[in-house]
Symmetry: D2
Subunit: 359 residues, 4 copies
């Protein structure tokens, strides 16, 4: 299986470069007779789109989605569904001056070493723009997994952490997050501080990291497989495949290290004639298989590597040089985590759809 | 590809249950003419073996490795290599009293829901005993990736954290860790505290979580693939497939969330006519591809779910009941992380071998 | 792996319908820095194109190839290469009258049963038009496997069989076949009879079957794998995946059934200091692995199912009805085998490229 | 996916050599709670066993089947099922004299070229003995696909062809074939001639080819996938992976080449309120998907390559030499096709089970 493919039964293959003709995805394995709601897919893509809020990059793309195959009279036919998004705003000349410079914490050094060639324009295949294809495919996955719902939101930006707000008793609040928060943060007090920090960071030409939390709500019992395809292993692989992600944890995550078994074990109880757990330290998965509780995980993102500050570096001739991007002209997100919210939801939906189809 | 299979070019398929005939692994894709050093494989398996130190389970297994196929005159032939380890010490009667009880934070509930049948003896397929097959296969992977070396060690048990000791300037110390430390901890001061904690935990019939750090030393530049098979994504999936693991982070991991780009970026420099990085916040990977710096990651483990304390729970008839394991008779590890050290090394070796064969 | 994907290391995924937006292919695994010769690819696509000779369908398509991704400055970058061919000539109204009729020996009955929906326009995904994507991908595969060459040609149409003309001593004749023969037949005498037969068949509104032979010239020793991925098994799967194919044989094929071992064994000899075989009954493969001799195989094709003759059938309401296509208006090939020549070459190139990359 | 693996949802991985410890198979994907009938599996393995009739090799093996994993209280648990058959009768000394000789039409030349090492004892991995693992796995597949039944039988040995005997109206005759015919031939008159021929061939120390026909009876409509995983493509790949097979054809196969569309099309009719076809030229598959009619295919086998006649050949030092096997001491089948009957049934069952699980 090629390395641009994700999933086994609900399988996506993405293609395209940041400044090439466009970005696309082939979905192989979508059940037939599913209504393919183009506006719902477009809404997801728009939500991800840079320029959505002032805190993500200023790049103006329209990201108009086109269906190239697999849909007949508004429904899936069982044939591969191809979605394509043309690139519109592709002045690559800004990238000319840096095409021979290894950009700190960027992929151009490793790509050049691996492939001996690099499409430097806008980052080429290494650009986070590839994730628009994941979001489009994820939108279809979301339709398939309903009534299972997925919510991702900002948990931390820089050192500012959002409070835990229980999702089960505040579902409406979570459902409205996209319209109520510029940066997808549920905790209004934290959001304010975050916005202030982002403004400052942007002015400094710097960037900042963040953490996103995601909940898969109302999953059926029994998703995931015992050994190498544990549900959390699939999620971990999905999340670490997102550009700039550096960590993944499920349930109590790294926090369990300092816990005792007597604290961390989730006690089984009977609730409304169903087996359930009193607590959810495990994050909804036991032995790799969902237990019906909400699946909760977090993903850490590093600060955007492109910063508008003078940086020492090296060029392809192994000469020392500097890199000096322009705050206004060289568009970048101060915090990639914000835009990654929709990508995380999409990848979580893809994992869930894939495992659901096994049932 | 079945869910008991890991890897694509260096591919393993494991089988077997804790109290069945044994545990085995088929390795498909091992290059031919590799010397298969049975004693090296046995050493890895012994290192993992419960009973190795007083801090892991008391279960006495000999874990004698047998080669069932693929080796001729001590060398690999290109045919699948099968390793098998018979189960010796399998009195399953202790498990009879709990076979109808959902064990808190164990997999028997989800297995029963998913499959409608469960081999409860010793945890069956859900037992951590499956990992002995990974360790055996990983031992062959280690031979293939040499001179790349892999070191995993205890970084944290409970709230006790080990100091960072730079591996590049202390390689010998790391190479001797297995003989020098009962619990694979490099920081002697921390080790003492950990041992004290483990003793106490064991006496209380409780368990505790931990964090393991792992370094892949001297990797070549260019391993890993850009999109869904980023080196860190493969590692994440490998690590979260280990029983009881709850989190994975690479490089600065969750710590990057509170960093600025100007801090977190790794500056490129020229060192001995080679491109290198001054720092290694990224943990040796850029854009999913290794950059030649050591690959550093950490994995969090929850406390052992089996504790010798009275726990409330539910049985398969949905009746409330209690579970009361015996400290002496019901063998368990006070801290699963300790034994997971060899499993992490094995999984890291498998990922590295798989990606190396792509080159 | 989805069912629209072929190959493992040089992997293609095709998409698109006969009368949809177009037909496309994503190639994942093409080595980087390969010159992608668009005109060579276009030439292969043109060669396959209906309307190329009067003996294939009259449909007028331009089949202009477009590269959507993966190529930078004329060379492959290691990223997925996407080729797309827009559909131009898509008046689907002719298909309206048959959209509720099960067409004898067509796929619309089984598609409807399997998917509950069917894009009937031009056959949708079941149309042989999908093979244009294979031909485009195969053209790149041909560039990769050079100097290995692939020649397919008509061996039989109806009861007319072409003589065997040794390829090793007549290579130029084979290389010129595309320009020298309207129907890709090397035996000029047989070709004349075939053309006469095809004319008659067309006048009768009927169709006829055929056999194509294919030679992979100068393959290296060692391609293919011992058990389930024997080179001939991969070829067989590739060939039987071509619409209308009904049989595959390698070397002496079905003819070996009546041979003795003493006749059929290929005697090893030393030729120019190399091990070789005196004969090639086995068709260039021993134990699933190429032995360096030309790989020779044949594929049988059934007559085109669409004929311009009154046929009894059934409609989707399970009522008996008739199907009466018009000779002039309802375009069809009198013999699908002719157009399949380029598809067979493409599939053989894909198998060869995939196995070459394993080496 | 490794090359020793077959299938995707019902997936087998085989291992082992002819004269090694034994032959085994791991089945990953068997649904849980299936009764695993060991005696039924053993019966299939016995049926395949050499020595079953005087016309197959004289080798005396007991082929006692052992279950190493995946079965609990007689039922599958969802975990991988491993079956193992120890090798018992492994005097390899007879092979010593030929270990440096390239055996005509054998795999030792290509294995040595590919791997640089070869387990020459009994053919090692290249031995047809590997197929015992397929037969064992196929026996479980047969249990899963019931009530779908599979019948393979000898259609031709040398130039002697068996008459067509309609399976639908003679099902009992086909069900009793294993007990009624030494060589699995349904046509008693042809069988007599075949037995005479086999006796003569054996006396001459020669071997002969054959053709096997196979019917998959009562398949559901809708198995198989449109493009690269057409049901016939999967069958073709399965059949050409069997040692010594040289051709595959479905339905009218190579015979369609000389047919007209007006003859070869299968007319749709309504029969007992179901859509059916009057004829079955297509062999039960349309557009890659089963149409509910019996699936009929044939496989050609070359004569056994090991013959007890003096043959010229070459050794590993590229010197000309001769190979002279002993009729009595060097055991071989005069016609490999006979023993392949059970292997074909097994592979057909595996393909059917795999595609059934997709439904």
């Amino acid at each position: 299986m090629g390395s641009n493919t994700f999933g086994k039964l609900f399988q996506i293959t993405t293609f395209g470069e940041s400044h090439g003709k466009g970005i696309g995805v082939v979905i192989d394995g979508c059940p037939s007779n599913i209504t393919i709601d183009l506006s719902a897919i477009q809404a997801e893509v728009d939500f991800r789109r840079p320029g959505f809020s002032e805190h993500t990059t200023q790049r103006k793309e329209q990201d108009r989605l086109e269906i190239l195959s697999g849909v007949f009279k508004g429904r899936s036919t069982g044939a591969p569904i191809t979605l394509f998004i043309k690139n519109c705003d592709c002045d690559s000349s800004r990238y000319d001056k840096i095409k021979e410079v290894y950009r700190p914490s960027h992929a151009n050094y490793t790509y050049l070493e691996k492939y001996g060639i690099y499409d430097h324009r806008g980052g080429g295949r290494a650009s986070a723009r590839e994730t628009v294809a994941r979001v489009a495919a994820g939108a279809i996955a979301k339709q398939i997994i309903a009534p299972v719902e997925i919510f991702a939101y900002i948990k931390q930006i820089g050192a500012i952490k959002a409070e835990d707000i229980d999702i089960l008793s505040n579902q409406e609040q979570y459902r409205e997050i996209r319209t109520n928060s510029q940066i997808n943060c549920i905790d209004k007090k934290a959001e304010k501080k975050m916005l202030r920090l982002l403004k400052q960071i942007r002015e400094e030409g710097d960037s900042v990291g963040g953490v996103i939390e995601c909940v898969i709500l109302s999953p059926p019992v029994g998703l995931g497989d015992p050994i190498y395809e544990k549900f959390e292993a699939m999620l971990a692989s999905a999340m670490l495949s997102i550009p700039a992600s550096k960590g993944f944890e499920i349930g109590d995550g790294f926090g369990v290290a300092s816990m005792r078994g007597s604290e961390a074990n989730d006690t089984f109880v009977v609730k409304e004639h169903q087996v359930s757990c009193l607590t959810n330290h495990s994050g909804g998965i036991l032995g790799g298989i969902t237990n019906g509780k909400p699946i909760i995980f977090r993903v850490a993102f590093k600060p955007t590597a492109s910063i508008a500050r003078l940086q020492k570096t090296v060029n392809i001739n192994k000469e020392e040089t500097t890199l000096d991007l322009d705050k206004k002209l060289d568009r970048h997100d101060p915090c990639v985590a914000i835009r990654a919210v929709s990508v995380i939801e999409a990848m979580a939906a893809l994992v869930t759809a894939d495992k659901l189809l096994y049932k």
